[in-house]
């Protein structure tokens, strides 16, 4: 047994295991140092955790789009980050109009619902356009071609929106009922964070039920499994693909408004980093796997929020929050190296051409 193990491990494997072990050691060392240093009280950690949960739920919603499209088309929809951006940016103008007319204060819940609907509609339209114009003609092309098309479409959309709406940061109007906080002893939760977490949880539950329990959901799962067999079973594959994009678009649009509520700003470039993080989340959970995307999103959000302070502060690194994106990317690379099938395992049937 040892002989076979020795034969099968290459020098590169050894290097990778060493690097992984080194990172693990650093993480443990840093965490113990930070916790024993006592600089942060438990209410601080609670803040980090809640923030991480909120941000993670947003990532989870966006990751749904990535994972579903990958499941059904075997391609990364690079432009999904722009689908995410287009919704809240367009809905901003509705929100601003509501705010200036006072409607936002008089009927906050109704205006929020309308804002959500506008955002979801816009994102869906962009997703549909993408599918129709950029992806459908290239379904049979070699792997690299749709990926490059997606990259091109992503930048095209970013700069189109920049041209349409301008390059500035637009501040979302403040919704009064979402301000304020709830205290539990010395732990506090900001109201909008709670709203984000609950809304995202509801949406994810709804999406999950839709995919698992309805006929259309079953059809989508079937097309992800095997396109030819599905079409033989009488399923309209094109329509299912379109439906997948619609669902992904709606989820992204909703996530966009939640993001705007949380970070209070929209900008034409706002989709890029959350997009990559959401893709990380989808891969973390197992690409093609919808519960996995949700889990991956929350996990990533928590690591990003708690991680820099926990791991790096103890190592004496100054301003660790600057490196939070780096931690997310390192996590991505580590997952891709050591467990490419993700936490819950890849649900995509491996087909070799």
């Amino acid at each position: 047994m040892w002989k076979r193990l020795r034969e099968r491990t290459t020098p590169t494997d050894v290097v990778m295991w060493l690097i992984g072990a080194a990172i693990l050691v650093l993480v443990i060392w840093g965490s113990t140092a930070t916790l024993s240093g006592g600089k942060y009280s438990s209410s601080h950690w609670f803040d980090f955790v809640v923030f991480g949960l909120a941000q993670g739920s947003i990532y989870a919603l966006i990751a749904m789009g990535y994972t579903m499209v990958y499941g059904i088309l075997r391609m990364i929809n690079f432009a999904h980050s722009e689908v995410f951006m287009s919704g809240p940016y367009t809905a901003y103008y509705v929100a601003a109009a509501f705010y200036s007319s006072g409607f936002l204060d008089r009927q906050p819940i109704l205006s929020l619902i309308i804002i959500f609907l506008v955002s979801m509609a816009t994102s869906t339209v962009i997703a549909l356009l993408l599918e129709r114009i950029a992806y459908r003609p290239l379904r049979t092309a070699p792997r690299l071609v749709p990926l490059i098309t997606a990259i091109g479409a992503s930048f095209f959309l970013q700069y189109t929106f920049r041209g349409l709406y301008g390059s500035g940061f637009q501040a979302y109007p403040v919704v009064k009922i979402l301000e304020g906080e709830w205290m539990f002893g010395e732990f506090r939760i900001l109201k909008f964070q709670a709203v984000v977490i609950v809304a995202a949880a509801l949406l994810m539950a709804g999406l999950y039920t839709f995919i698992q329990r309805t006929r259309i959901g079953k059809a989508i799962r079937s097309v992800s499994e095997d396109k030819e067999a599905s079409s033989l079973m009488g399923i309209d594959v094109d329509r299912m693909i379109v439906t997948t994009f619609v669902i992904g678009g709606m989820a992204a649009g909703a996530a966009g408004v939640l993001y705007a509520v949380m970070f209070k700003q929209v900008h034409f470039f706002m989709g890029f980093v959350p997009g990559i993080k959401a893709f990380t989340a989808a891969v973390l959970g197992g690409i093609g796997n919808i519960p996995g995307a949700m889990l991956g999103g929350i996990f990533l959000g928590l690591i990003e929020s708690v991680g820099p302070t926990l791991f790096l502060d103890g190592l004496g690194i100054v301003a660790p929050y600057q490196l939070k994106d780096a931690i997310a990317f390192i996590l991505l690379v580590l997952v891709l190296i050591f467990r490419p099938t993700g936490i819950l395992g890849e649900r995509v049937a491996i087909k070799k051409a």
């Binding site: 103008y93 071609v145 990926l147 930048f155 700069y159 349409l164 301003a319 490196l323 991505l332 690379v333």
Partner: protein, 557 residues
């Protein structure tokens, strides 16, 4: 007819979009034909002509009356779209949402007439252009080609006037041509007509006699042919060497930037084009080369005090090292994951050089300044013209290495890996070392480019090393042709040179890149100057492709 309406509506949406993103406005600064038509209006006209042509060409049966009607209808739709925009703009303030829906835009769209007159002009203009396009599609193909070439030349001369005017002006004897052809903003009307006539005449001549000349050349004895080729090559080299003197300061600067991108493109061409490894974090190696040069030569940080040539080998070595370090973890990853992982690496490097954590060594957000320039003997290479020669040397060296590698055993191993990894491994190719060599070579070229960049600018800032540069380089080699060395040149001149020359482009650069990328992938995935092999590959299934909804993978990347 329905098809024509659909095409026309799409055209209308496109033109409205072009107006709302501000492109028409920005382009109107420049006149193509002085005081007659600006670049903005030319763009609108070209779009409607193209739409009309598409609609006319798609007419089943090609009956002349129907062709014209289709062209006309689609033109009407396009004009209608713009007219709708103008009407809505009059009724409500669109500017609150679409920041470019300014009074200037409406003035441009209504051709400086009142609103109602403008709408009529738009509709009429659309119809007329559609009709013209229809006529064009009915014309015999030789005539059509000649007309398109002439039109293209006039528009091209207007667009590239900033390049042509100073170049011609440098030769005193040709100054009179300059006067006649160009005015301060755009071609003169007689210049445009003259140019049109000239190009029409020469294209007509070439269309008639071109084949004769070409076969005449081929029938020359091989020795003469070789002599001709060598003379052409020598002329090219002389041109390359003399270019900075010919073109002046600004254009030499543009050439140096193009040259840097050519270096980068050649490196990424090896990774993506030869070996098929989609690397989106390529800018990381560029940064590493630049920062190594900075750290080693700058007195600001005070660690070392090497000269540029002393630091150069270290920069390249660091590039190779990081290429290997990047390559090891991603050896087992497939296409999409590889792309994202490398993107992650690129971002990690950028975040690290920007962070306060590494500021004592890398300068943090302020970067590193006072980087040494290159010296040859006692002469310092500081002006764009001089740096051009340094970059030219780099490009020639890297180009030569690329070319030899492509035809070598390693190059063929790379292409085998690109086609199908498993088969390549079965054929006895060591995947790990082949891939690592690809990464390392690409990284070395990139680090070289980074070192020259650092020396040229004299300083490095972390903000210059963002993911956009990786995407830029990727676009460049894809538009030029993946894996093709002349393609890199074409891509660099098109995607880097043009935006430098057309300052109005600046805001829309990435938009055009994105659109170009999508268009290229849809229409011509092998690029503008492809490898012959690639073109055969990508169009292989086309004649035998059946309408299949299943979309199974017919080939792996």
């Amino acid at each position: 007819m329905k098809q024509a309406i659909k095409i026309g509506l799409i055209g209308g949406v496109v033109e409205v979009l072009l107006s709302l993103i501000g492109m028409i406005e920005a382009f109107s600064q420049r006149d193509i034909i002085s005081h007659i038509i600006s670049m903005g209006h030319t763009l609108l006209l070209l779009v409607v002509l193209f739409i009309g042509y598409l609609a006319a060409k798609g007419t089943p049966g090609r009956k002349p009356s129907w062709v014209l009607i289709n062209g006309l209808t689609s033109g009407l739709m396009v004009g209608g779209g713009l007219a709708l925009l103008v009407t809505m703009g009059g009724m409500m303030n669109l500017r609150k949402v679409f920041i470019n829906a300014s009074p200037l835009l409406y003035k441009l769209l209504t051709f400086d007439q009142g609103r109602n007159e403008g709408i009529l002009l738009l509709l009429g203009g659309g119809v007329l252009s559609g009709l013209l396009a229809g006529l064009l599609s009915l014309a015999p193909s030789i005539l059509r080609r000649v007309l398109i070439v002439s039109l293209g030349s006039v528009v091209g001369a207007g667009v590239l006037q900033d390049l042509l005017r100073p170049t011609v002006a440098l030769w005193g004897s040709l100054a009179v041509v300059n006067e006649w052809l160009f005015s301060s903003n755009g071609l003169t009307s007689h210049g445009a007509i003259g140019l049109f006539a000239l190009v029409t005449a020469s294209s007509a001549f070439w269309a008639k006699k071109g084949n004769v000349i070409r076969s005449g050349l081929k029938s020359l004895p091989p020795a003469r042919q070789r002599a001709l080729k060598i003379t052409a090559l020598l002329l090219l080299i002389a041109l390359l060497l003399g270019l900075p003197q010919l073109l002046g300061l600004f254009l030499s600067e543009v050439l140096t930037i193009i040259g840097l991108y050519v270096l980068l493109g050649l490196g990424l061409n090896i990774v993506v084009g030869f070996a098929g490894l989609l690397d989106l974090g390529y800018v990381a190696f560029f940064a590493i080369g630049a920062y190594t040069t900075g750290v080693l030569t700058s007195p600001e940080l005070g660690f070392f005090n090497l000269s540029f040539w002393g630091a150069l080998p270290f920069a390249i070595f660091m590039g190779v090292l990081s290429g290997v370090l990047l390559g090891v973890p991603v050896l087992k990853m497939r296409g999409d994951y590889l792309a994202i992982a490398t993107l992650g690496f690129g971002e990690i490097i950028r975040i690290l050089v920007l962070s306060d954590f590494l500021r004592p060594w890398l300068g943090g957000a302020q970067g590193i300044g006072k980087i040494a320039k290159a010296h040859i003997g006692s002469m310092e290479l500081a002006t764009p013209q001089q740096i051009y020669y340094l970059i030219l040397a780099g490009c020639l060296l890297v180009g030569f290495i690329s070319w030899r590698l492509r035809d070598s055993r390693l190059g063929r191993a790379w292409m085998a890996v690109r086609e199908d990894e498993d088969v390549a491994q079965a054929m006895g190719i060591n995947l790990s070392s082949t891939k690592l060599l690809a990464f390392a070579t690409g990284a070395a070229f990139s680090a070289l480019s980074g070192a020259i960049f650092a020396s040229k600018l004299g300083s490095v800032y972390p903000h210059s090393f963002n993911v956009m540069i990786s995407i830029n380089i990727l676009c460049l080699i894809i538009v030029g042709g993946m894996g093709s060395i002349p393609g890199v040149l074409v891509g660099a001149f098109a995607l880097v040179g043009l935006p430098e020359l057309l300052r109005e482009f600046a805001d829309y650069r990435l938009l055009v890149y994105g659109a170009a990328l999508v268009a290229m992938m849809l229409l011509r995935p092998e690029g503008l100057w492809p490898e012959a092999l690639r073109r055969r590959e990508l169009h292989e299934g086309e004649s035998t492709k059946t309408e299949s909804v299943s979309g199974s993978e017919s080939k792996s990347t």
